[in-house]
Amino acid sequence: MSLLGQVASIVLNGLQQGAIYVLVAMGLSIILGTLKFVNFAHGALYLIGTYVGMLVALEIRVGGKLQEWGYTTLGLGWGFIAALVIVPIFVFVVGILMERFIARPFYDRPDTDQILLTFGLAIVVQEVFRIMFGGQSYSFELPQSVSVPVTVPLIGSYPLWRLILIGITAALVVTVYLLIEYTDFGLVVRAGTADAEMVRLLGIKISRPYILVFGIGAALAGVAGVVGGPLYAVNPSIGMEVLVPAFLVVVIGGVGSLTGAVLGGVLLGLTQAFLTQFTLVTPWFSYSLSPWSQVGIYVLAAVILLTRPEGLLGSAEVGS
């Protein structure tokens, strides 16, 4: 492969990896920015998205308690498109219920209590899935039509699904951006971020936009679960594994900033892809950087935070 091809391949892989981070981080960031609520259970929404998506799209052979209770295969088998439609709606509802019954009573409690509560919740959700479906890994198989490789200039063949994934993410990013920047709903949300009390004094019932923001954030995590699920083995710990990088994206991008979340996500994705694929070749030795691929994103985050504690696109005041 030519050098240019190598660069293009790193960029594509980076965008694909970054897309998952962006989808999860966007929800985290708008919830944190507007509602000032820290959601450690956001990874659990990703987890729910993947499992529900798998159950809608396929019929899977289940383990765990479900197997003990006499189910061998479970799932609707309606296909992948159905999963892409149903899961966001389902997780949206889960998000709304979560806002109403779990987050809202905790808005007045200290940050640490919010973190602890949602952390506990994340464990509960993860354990429910582990008990029901067993701890083993499932494979979320894509339909034939999108799992075939296509020819991309410079690189050669590249899995079609990964390209679609990047496309879906880009479309969602634009949609959410337009929603926040150019609608009345977005105006109230942005005003609430700046000064929630003032918005209330103007006679606007802010709890309704808030619940929607939470639902949208949750739905985005759900979509991430469906589109990202097929790329990796599906097991109960995927939620927490995607949550930590997503948090990093939020922190380095700047809380509440959508563009920050996108920038941070792409940056982490590119870093990871670069380290995975790059091998340092000198006349004397060659050293593959791939063991550093996971470590690298944390180092990058550390460097950014040391130089700009409020994040790349965050306002200084949020960082204090």
Partner: protein
Amino acid sequence: MSDDARTDGGTTVKNTTALRERYDALKGEESTVAVVSIIGLLAFPWLFIEAPVVSGFLKGYESLASLILIWAIFAIGFDLLLGYTGLLSFGHAAFWGTAAYASANVSAYLTGSPLVMVLLGTVIAVGLAWLLGYLTLRRGGIYFSILTLAFAQMMFYMSSSVLATYPGSKTPLTNGENGFTGVSLDPLLGMFELNREMPSILGEFVGTWHYGFIAVFTFLAIVIAYRILNSPYGLVFKAIRENEQRTEFVGLNVWRYKLMSFIISGTFAGVAGSLFTIHSQYVPLSSLYWTSSGEVVIMTVLGGAGSLFGPIFGAAVYLWVENIVSGMPNIGAFWHLILGLVFVVVIVLVPDGIWGLPDAVRRAWGYISNLGGDR
């Protein structure tokens, strides 16, 4: 979190006041704490393993008793940070795991003396706590929690790949996914085999040198934590928890106290991690994973953050459920779910933890009996 519980406890019943005062005075003495911990640590194995009725229900065994004490030390240290300084770290696995690996390396390549292992393991943990504290404490509140989590995960990934062997050789440093297996222990002070029973009555009732060794560290942890918390220095920690800005305005260097609190907490985690190596003679990679950080968070909060004995109690409950309840028929498979649900319930209803339950009940009772009263 529970310091002010006694003052707003509602009604006072007159004829018990004198008794109550004597009890409170005794409760506040440092020597009382020391004596109570010694008695507790000596009686614990017997109660847990041999005592009639109680042990039949608890089904304890000595190795679990030692493990509980180790995690208790960890939780006490964690509570200094969360319960007293008000900082919620999600990355304490970094200190626990690093100390465990460090002491394992000491035993494999340097000396198997348990005391040296604990000493060097702790020193490494302190150094790491200094570094990570310096990086993570730049941002407060939720960012601190996220950053500690992130850096601990970084340590995890480094240990799983890059640091699996010493750079440029095949000698295992963390041994990656398989965990470090080459731990070899020498007798304590060159005389006492850790897995032998202690002499005479101590051996009869308490158990092996192994338990004794860990119990001594637990005792020291309790007494030192008590001393720190009741010193003017510890008072500043509580002041930071209550109101950081006001503490700053009084003229105290908040940043320095926070860093120190973080380091002290990391020290406790380091001692506990080193003891864990001695206990299990094996260091799994998961000791650096976020689940270990999560476990100590749950133990501390479940038992009662902001109290000295709460976290110890929390550690005991957690490990008991993890090791004993998980083996029970029917409910065994649900042990982790049960802990998660109890944890959520505790946070919603009793933020002071199980240890703060009596105070919460007393407060509720005082509130109820005041309802028809003189308001």
